[in-house]
């Protein structure tokens, strides 16, 4: 019999029982499906060292984050297990600047008041004093002390409207631990990089882009930023300046509706990506933003011949109150 902890409570396992089976037997609700280590629906998190087998197939950032497959992990004495979305790891931050860059997008900068290790491309939850909480991507480069967020004001979005409208300079907010795997890792060094962002889906990609410019040597880096109108695209001048300074980087602002505009591409982003010629076998593709566009873009990129393993994404799933 082994004794381990889940959310601080002790559980005793039967012989050879997995963490998942033991928790389920004790009436704890843990999502699960295949119990074969394939479907990944039973992910939990540990602060101690899970077995190698229970982290098999997980991304590097998940492994580094202590995630493991509870169906593959034998219950072991001393193991400390948590629900991954638990809000245990909050860090306080102070808003240092708030720039309303378009009618709907505000760029917020937050200085964390404690250690906050993250990788460019990850996201976090911003938590207001009253507990209202939403996920936002970090637009900063790995290791930066100041966190940048691109926040789009959405209709009926309580937190996004607050973040956009209210003067928050010097105010404190809380941040949860960074999550997500739309990040560069060592295996990608030297490969080409195709970044496709829709709306504020630019944010995580902007962080990844900065990593690729100064921290990690990549091949050709292409950024497509899509928006409904030319006016909805933001940071255009910043990105054009980066394009001038780094010859391996090219920037392509794309919009759907409105008159043709110099320096922009008018068209359908999914169609453009379908027709794009690039080295399918040697390119890492990252796609972020609106979930249905992300889904279509991922399928388009996959069908064009990019291996599924080389396609990373972060669909911005939002809950809009009805």
């Amino acid at each position: 019999m082994e004794r381990f902890f889940f959310e601080g409570k002790e559980y005793s396992s039967h012989k050879n029982e997995t963490v998942l089976d033991c928790l389920l037997r004790n009436g704890v609700k843990v999502t699960n499906s295949c119990k074969s280590g394939v479907c990944h629906s039973c992910l939990l998190k540990s602060t101690s060292s899970p077995d190698e087998i229970s982290q098999k197939g997980l991304s590097q950032s998940k492994k580094e984050g202590g995630f493991f497959l509870s169906c593959q992990q034998k219950a072991l004495s001393g193991l400390e297990v948590f629900m991954p979305d638990s809000s245990l790891l909050f860090v306080e931050g102070e808003v240092t600047s708030q720039v309303r860059i378009t009618d709907t997008v505000v760029i917020l900068k937050v200085r964390t008041l404690g250690d906050y290790p993250f990788k460019a491309g990850q996201f976090t939850n911003i938590i207001r004093h009253d507990g209202v909480c939403r996920s936002y991507s970090i637009a900063s480069q790995t290791g930066e002390r100041e966190l940048e967020f691109h926040i789009r004001k959405v209709a009926g979005g309580e937190l996004s409207n607050w973040l956009y409208e209210k003067d928050l300079t010097n105010q404190k907010i809380k941040l949860s631990e960074p999550l997500g795997e739309c990040c560069l890792n060592d295996e990608m060094t030297g490969k080409d990089l195709l970044l496709i962002g829709v709306g504020t889906g630019l944010a995580p990609l902007y962080g990844v882009l900065k990593d690729s410019l100064v921290k990690q040597k990549m091949g050709a880096v292409k950024l497509f930023h899509g928006g409904l109108t030319a006016e909805s695209l933001y940071m255009v001048e910043t990105l054009k300046t980066i394009e001038r300074d780094f010859d391996f980087f090219s920037y392509h602002p794309v919009f759907l509706n409105g008159k043709e505009k110099e320096g922009y591409i008018k068209g359908n982003l999914v169609d453009l990506i379908k027709e794009l010629s690039f080295d399918k076998k040697n390119t890492v593709v990252m796609i972020c933003g609106d979930p249905s566009l992300v889904k279509n873009l991922k399928q388009a990129v996959f069908l064009s011949g990019v291996p599924s393993k080389s396609i990373l994404s972060d669909p911005f799933i939002s809950q809009i109150p009805r």
Partner: protein, 122 residues
């Protein structure tokens, strides 16, 4: 005597097969309506589970979860012709990977073994 899974090359061959198979599924107009709406990462994991099972590999595919997993699709009209198409694409995938006909038949037989559960008849 090696198991079917070992003869096929084990997990490595599942990894090699999954992209080929999933591309075929997404491009096949007989069945792609059931698949294009699902997130790709999730689908790749599911296809991997299915292929591991069909290759005779270690898996806990049970009749019950197969039935539950496909209930919504059956309600949308999933029927024998769609299962036929999947088995056909599975065979084509293996052929592309250079697998011989006798092993393809074995894989098809395993896939067939869950047809009734998938379609909610068992």
């Amino acid at each position: 005597m090696n198991s079917l899974f070992e003869k096929l090359g084990g997990e490595k061959s599942v990894d090699a097969a999954v992209d080929i198979f999933y591309r075929k599924v997404l491009l096949d107009e007989r069945i792609n309506d059931f698949f294009t709406d699902v997130d790709m990462d999730e689908q790749v994991q599911k296809q991997k589970a299915f292929l591991t099972f069909a290759f005779g590999g270690p898996s806990n595919y049970s009749g019950l979860n197969m039935k539950e997993a496909h209930e919504r699709l059956v309600a949308r009209g999933l029927n024998d012709s769609h299962v036929d198409a999947v088995v056909e694409l599975l065979g084509e995938t293996l052929k592309e990977l250079g697998v011989g006909d006798n092993l393809i038949d074995e894989v098809a037989a395993i896939a067939e073994s869950v047809r009734d559960q998938v379609l909610g008849r068992a």
